[in-house]
């Protein structure tokens, strides 16, 4: 069946090189508050030590590694050098690498002869925040010709400005990266989605597109509304297709890449992979909000020190309780547990798009839910947070109200008049659902095992019974029985009368 809305919207994209879409249901128009865009992207000096957090280390202390070499499952060294330390803390390992002066790439990188091999060798991961492997995403869509490739340049969350900075400065490389992606995927059309308030970035991308982009690439201006750049919401805006939790965009013949990923693809294919990303430093307590290019493994302390953003008290080794550090956007990010004191131990990785430095403000006390429904009005996924909260202890009801579709955008938290951290509850509930599912799987396994055992036991019992019966029959028919009878008869006859 033809999805007419999708059909029309796609036709619109094909006839115009720039199109717009109307606002989606829900969401909140938040002030963009993009900081540090007036200055060019900064760089920090090569740190004396690179940090990597990983699960299974593949190297030992003292090993010499090359840039791009896998040092732990799914973790590539971002610079060549010597492994100085491998520490275990709880389930994770912290690997320390002292970079050398040469930065030698692995042979896989230098000898890559096609784009896919280059992307594989560079170990590209999505730079939008989720960090999903680019190669895996591309491989998920190989059988059929891709209908729509979406380049996500929306960057809808306040304060995050790294993608916008990249588009302002390196638009041509971004567009060249997009071209590579369109070639790999053989897509029918490619839509670059960008928010309407990013006027300078739109101009810059348009210019680069006019010069380099292949004919399939279209620009689509979307309204500035959080969370319009979240994958499911963005794809729904562009195509009208609702992607549920169990589906991937590929199931609807679409793929979605972040604009910074496209930039990295360009460098990877040129056999000069970046192993780094642009990070936004923002927040009310940041001295010099900026966008800075950082190598993966750069500690936040190093990053902030060289951008002149280190909170004052850290240098005196005093515990600073008044500054909170958030990794990621103000809504999707997570606060560092020990605040400023964690800075030397946390490093930049693919997911780390923003570091926010704020003075801590008191959390409002959580009050009772009055079911006003404001949360349902802003939910971009049309969920009913008030019901999800009320029924948080019932697994069935959580499924009935579609908890797995929650994208954790925190719009509901923002409007709740009772200051309830709804999303925190939902994350916990999702965990419960997961455990519950595991329990069910385990139970089913145990049931089949038990049934098999019962069957086995029954079969054995039957066999044994059969054996016993056979034996009895044997005994009954054996000559020994005759002997006994004869003996008895003899004994009777011998009895003295």
């Amino acid at each position: 069946m033809i999805n007419w809305r999708q059909h029309y919207s796609m036709a619109r994209h094909l006839t115009n090189s720039t199109s717009t879409v109307s606002a989606f249901r829900g969401g909140i128009a938040l002030a963009p508050n993009k900081q540090g865009l007036s200055n060019p992207i900064k760089t920090v000096p090569l740190p004396p030590e690179l940090l990597f957090n990983a699960k299974e280390p593949l190297i030992e202390v003292g090993d010499i590694v090359l840039a791009g070499q896998e040092i732990a499952a799914g973790v590539l060294a971002s610079w060549s050098g010597r492994i100085s330390d491998v520490q275990k803390n709880n389930a994770d390992y912290t690997i320390k690498l002292i970079p050398d002066g040469t930065n030698t790439f692995t042979s896989a990188i230098t000898e890559a002869d096609n784009p896919m091999a280059a992307i594989d060798a560079a170990g590209l991961a999505g730079l939008g925040g989720a960090g999903f492997s680019t190669l895996k995403k591309l491989l998920s869509q190989q059988q059929t010709q891709l209908a729509t490739l979406v380049i996500n340049a929306a960057e809808c969350e306040p304060m995050i400005a790294c993608d916008e900075a990249l588009m302002l400065e390196n638009a041509s490389e971004v567009v060249l990266g997009i071209n590579v992606l369109t070639q790999i995927t053989q897509c029918k059309q490619c839509i670059v989605a960008i928010e309407d308030t990013k006027i300078a970035a739109i101009e810059s991308i348009k210019k680069a597109m006019a010069e380099y982009a292949d004919a399939r690439v279209q620009l689509c201006i979307i309204p500035t509304r959080y969370p319009g750049g979240a994958e499911t919401v963005l794809l729904r805006q562009l195509s009208g297709v609702r992607i549920t939790k169990n589906q991937h965009p590929a199931d609807h013949n679409m793929l979605c890449f972040n604009v910074a990923t496209a930039y990295s693809v360009h460098h990877a294919v040129k056999r000069q992979p970046l192993f780094g990303r642009v990070v936004s430093v923002a927040g009310s307590a940041a001295n010099e909000p900026c966008n800075v290019y950082a190598l993966f493994g750069t500690s936040l302390a190093h990053l902030l020190k060289h951008t002149n953003n280190l909170p004052a008290h850290l240098s005196n080794n005093k515990i600073n309780r008044h500054v909170a550090i958030t990794l990621g956007g103000p809504l999707s990010g997570t606060a560092l547990e020990k605040g400023v004191n964690d800075l030397p131990n946390v490093a930049v990785n693919a997911k780390c798009n923003t570091v926010i430095i704020e003075t801590t403000n008191l959390k409002a006390t959580e009050q009772a839910c009055i079911r006003c429904g404001d949360c349902a009005d802003v939910c971009p996924e049309s969920l009913m947070p008030q019901q999800l909260l009320r029924y948080r202890h019932s697994v069935d009801m959580l499924y009935d109200y579609h908890l797995p579709n929650c994208i954790e955008c925190r719009c509901c938290d923002l409007v709740c008049p009772s200051s309830i951290p709804l999303t925190d509850y939902f994350i916990k509930s999702k965990q419960t659902l997961k455990t519950q599912q595991q329990i069910q799987i385990d139970a089913q396994l145990a049931e089949t095992r038990f049934a098999a055992r019962e069957k086995r036991l029954a079969r054995r019992a039957k066999e044994r019974e059969q054996e016993l019966l056979d034996k009895k029959r044997q005994v009954a028919s054996a000559p020994a029985a005759m002997d006994i009878k004869a003996a008895l008869a003899r004994a009777k006859s011998n009895k003295p009368s």
């Binding site: 403000n361 409002a364 009772a368 009055i370 079911r371 009913m384 008049p417 009772s418």
Partner: protein
């Protein structure tokens, strides 16, 4: 999460806005019926807050948190506005206690209750003290001094001739009164009935509450779904009755501006805790309240059906919500 992005709307703000929106209607009520309503409101707030504090203490919860959100002040005000002004203090106090304990605290406090607390208090009073709950003083017929009223409310013997100054509650009394002319029964005519309605204080009071309600809509504290569906349903049903009945009937226009219609539609039925939570659910909930109110008014034993309509529809809310689960 960054708290600075949070919207400025808070529970206390919401309750304050609703209280402010009650001002015009309450002022009209005090002016046209009796200023005693102010004393009732203050008395009711005092008793309800004390009961709330005691309950929270017994439940080992923070008293300050419960009192600060303002929900109990609002519920007490609504109860005081719903009862007749000359209701004895001890009865009003009992109603307030019933409202807090039976309407709210036994369910676990704010947000947990199934029934609208103010209407639980009202229904409790209605079934316990039907005599005092169904008579209303009427300033238009004979003025009673505040002193006399206060004495009466404290159950001191007074010389107020109750029969001559009180009437059955608004709608019923109007119909009764219009059948008498100078003490003599006359045939009820549509003109007499309309005249009686125009002369009664209720349309003005209702317009006061309507103004407050529209302001709440403008402030986005409530949504249009519940009030509009209640008022439309009442209007249509009364209109239908007028068209089909051979007897003179309260016209549809008057039906929506008399009795507790506006107060109920904008302030009582919109209590989010006990109302349906989706927009379609709210419309169904409102239609239910409108129809049940009409049924009780026209054929029921009680003169004003709003409270019972709200309570009955409260019971249906979980069913409405689960049936209308958005994606289902």
């Amino acid at each position: 999460m960054n708290t600075s992005l949070h919207s400025s709307k808070s529970l206390t703000n919401v309750m304050l806005l609703v209280l402010l929106a009650l001002v015009p209607g309450t002022a009209a009520y005090a002016w046209l019926i009796s200023p005693m309503v102010f004393i009732n409101i203050i008395f009711c707030i005092l008793i309800a807050s004390t009961t709330e504090a005691v309950c929270m203490r017994l439940r080992d919860r923070s008293v300050a948190v419960a009192l600060r959100d303002g929900s109990i002040v609002l519920a007490a005000t609504l109860l005081a506005l719903a009862v007749p002004p000359q209701l004895p203090f001890w009865q009003l106090g009992l109603g307030a206690v019933a409202m807090v304990v039976l309407g709210k605290q036994i369910y676990g406090g704010l947000g947990q209750n199934l029934f609208n607390p103010a209407m639980v208090g009202f229904a409790f009073l209605m079934v316990s003290f039907p005599q005092t709950m169904t008579i209303w003083i009427d300033n238009l017929q004979q003025s009673v001094s505040m002193g006399q009223l206060l004495q009466a409310k404290l159950f001191v013997q007074t010389n107020i001739p109750w029969d001559s100054i009180t009437q059955a509650t608004p709608l019923e009394s109007i119909r009764l009164a219009s059948q008498y002319s100078a003490g003599q029964p006359v045939a009820l005519t549509q003109t007499a009935l309309n005249q009686q309605l125009i002369n009664s204080p209720w349309p003005i009071i209702n317009f006061g509450f309507l103004a407050g309600g529209l302001w709440l809509l403008y402030k986005r504290v409530i949504t249009w779904h519940i009030p509009v569906s209640i008022i439309t349903t009442l209007f249509l049903l009364h209109g239908l009755l007028t068209l089909t009945s051979s007897q003179p009937q309260i016209s549809a226009m008057f039906a929506v501006v008399s009795g507790a219609t506006m107060l109920g539609a904008f302030f009582i039925a919109t209590d989010p805790v006990t109302a349906a939570t989706s927009n379609i659910g709210r419309i169904i909930y409102g239609i239910g309240i409108g129809s049940l109110t009409f049924v009780v008014r026209e054929w029921g034993g009680y003169p004003e059906g709003f409270a019972f309509a709200v309570l009955l529809m409260n019971m249906c809310v979980p069913l409405i919500d689960s049936t209308l689960n958005r994606h289902a």
